[in-house]
Amino acid sequence: MSKTNIDEINRNIYDFKNKDEYDFKIKKGLTKEIIEEISLQKNDPDWMFELRLKALEVYNKLELPTWGPDLSELDMNEIATYVRPKSKLNNSWEDVPEDIKNTFDKLGIPEAEKTSLAGVGAQYDSEVVYHSMKKELLDQGVIYTDMETAVREYPELVKTHFMKCVPVYDHKFVALHAAVWSGGSFVYVPKGVKVDIPLQSYFRLNSPESGQFEHTLIIVDEGASLHFIEGCSAPKYNKVNLHAGCVELYVKDNSYLRYSTIENWSKNMLNLNTKKAIVGKNAKMEWVSGSFGSKISMLYPMSILNGEGAKTEFTGISFAGKGQNLDNGFKVVHNAQNTASVVNAKSISKNGGKCTYRSLVRIGEKAKHSKSSVSCESLMLDDISVSDTIPVNDIQTDEVEFSHEAKIGKISDKTIFYLMSRGLSEEDAKAMIVRGFAYPISKELPVEYAVEMNNLINLELEGAIG
């Protein structure tokens, strides 16, 4: 395994690469012919084929965003948008080819499935290679499958929801996604069904100079509940990889959805992801998000509170090291009375890393008696790192409670001395302070993920002193 610099030491639990073996890899670039070829390879129905072509037109018309991180290094002519792994979809790990199975073994996915999950999906490059769910959920009518199967087997449900929450023209990378999407998970939880144990999809991008464009569509019907976990990682290559996934969540009246993410893309990844939830009457949408990897990340999950009494919470943390520019945040639109949003965002930057919290809170005219409280806190571990907060608050009615609180801080020498006087090395002391800072987020994660997050923090802090 090649290691490019000292910072990358010990990332090897994520950084192992398999040989770039595939069944089919589309040529690099983005043309009508390439889209047609992908659609053919995927055996799309007509409506999907047309949607892809329309999306390509929209993509070509839209400009790159003029705000936020510089994306000029992204050259779509250098990215292969579709890589089919040497594996069909399996519902037993035994049937997954050895090297791919080993990948997920190292990431602990099959083990987690045995101990703490009700269902698992695993995507390798552009296609889902494994999907499985406990029988009890199947019996209750819960659907959890890969997106391609859903397009085939639940055409009406998919057609009425696919790219309806996130419209194709939302922004350039949504259009790109719609044109080349492949893989992802589909979940439907029927009315009144409570799924007590989480479902989890894991996305692994192995192939260099390629992109991953998975589509996740979740419908939690009235009075139902679900916890969905998304994990992502990739080994590091010298050239950029692109991730432009799309997550559409429908949280119907009186239902509950928690969507947790641990993102640990490699540091050559441009993560330009779009996530949105539409929340119904008295329903609740919770986002939990840990963002560690990527060279550039632009990720702003969004909740649209359309039903009276709808609630949303966002709990997120970003950790930017050397060469990373993580422009993350949260957006919420209050469209109905008595809606509520709570945001608790944290960021850590070190070794010249940059974290920006970019947010929108819009409380519309109709959203009387709504509440919104936003708290963001940044921790900088040295003098060369950067942290920024760019909130937009658009409050169109008087009868609301709104608060925004932002704090930026550094680790004080006094605190380090205190901890060192208890026998902790300087490195241990910093790691303890950072873990404590991140605790309000890690405590919201399932135990294995909280442990993984603490390991990531320790990993990020190794060699960060001095």
């Binding site: 605190t415 001395f417 006087s421 208890r422 026998g423 902790l424 303890m432 404590g436």
Partner: protein, 269 residues
């Protein structure tokens, strides 16, 4: 009494280029309790910080030995692992790290082995009862939202759990009411045995009402000007530091007849 535990030889210490300690000599043997008393700004906290090699203080001259090993320039955490503990005047707050987890982690680090979970929990419970601490505090973030008294008791709890060879208690009694001081004294008595030692740093004598000590040192302007028994503390309680300060002024500023102290004596660092 036994052999030397801590030996400070002619120690000078500066902070921000200002000379604070001007030749401290102090020997603490195993099994002894020592008290350093002195007015504000005399260098008491600096003495404690200098022993633990706080990076903010320079030590241009002098040496510190612990169990005959020169520890003058060791890193703070190395000194802590040798068996020196300091109770802070203003303990730091660590959000997101519970008291239990912190203590477990620190104990692992100081002893170099993993604590046994159940034994540890029982030990902790026992100490907390003795110190009249609310058991709920165990799961709260370390010192976050603790009252002044709770923070000080928490320092004593840490001392008991980490069980050092030498405990330096910097102004642990200040700001506490009579009952809390008694509890702290009880904690010290629980900790104390023939093999370990305590160095109490204080500017008042309240804690000495409920604790028997072996030596009292008076620190004025960076020097130990007098050493005596517990009786010395009683004298100071009655007469204050005036005599020692005056003597110092007479020595250092022979031309000035005023009995007022230079303002620097009253500035708290």
């Amino acid at each position: 009494m036994g052999e030397n535990l801590l030996e400070i030889k002619d120690l000078y210490a500066n902070a921000e280029n200002k000379e604070i300690l001007k030749g401290i000599n102090l020997t603490i043997k195993k099994g002894e309790i020592h008290v350093i008393m002195g007015p504000n700004g005399s260098g008491k906290t600096t003495t404690a910080n200098a022993i633990l090699n706080h990076p903010m203080y320079q030590k241009p001259k002098g040496e510190i030995f612990f169990e005959d090993e020169n520890i003058t320039n060791l890193k703070t955490d190395e000194i802590a692992r040798k068996g020196i503990f300091m109770s802070f005047q203003l303990p730091e707050e660590i959000p997101g790290v519970s008291v239990t987890n912190f203590l477990k982690y620190a104990k692992n680090k100081t002893t170099g082995k993993s604590v046994k979970v159940f034994e540890f929990r029982d030990e902790l419970k026992k100490y907390m009862e003795e110190l009249k601490m609310d058991p709920k505090n165990m799961e709260r973030s370390l010192n976050v939202g603790f009252s002044g008294g709770e923070k000080k008791k928490n320092e004593i709890l840490q001392m008991l759990v980490l069980n050092p060879k030498l405990a330096i208690l910097d102004e642990t009694d200040s700001g506490l009411d009579v009952d809390a001081i008694k509890t702290v004294s009880k904690g010290i008595e629980m900790f104390k045995n023939e093999q370990n030692s305590v160095l109490i740093i204080t500017h008042n004598t309240k804690i000495l009402h409920s604790l028997k000590v072996d030596f009292v040192h008076v620190l004025v302007d960076g020097r130990i000007v007098k050493t005596g028994s517990q009786e010395l503390a009683r004298e100071i309680e009655e007469n204050g530091y005036g005599e020692y300060k005056k003597r110092l002024i007479d020595k250092s500023q022979p031309t000035e007849q005023s009995c007022f102290l230079p303002i620097s004596h009253f500035i708290k660092r």
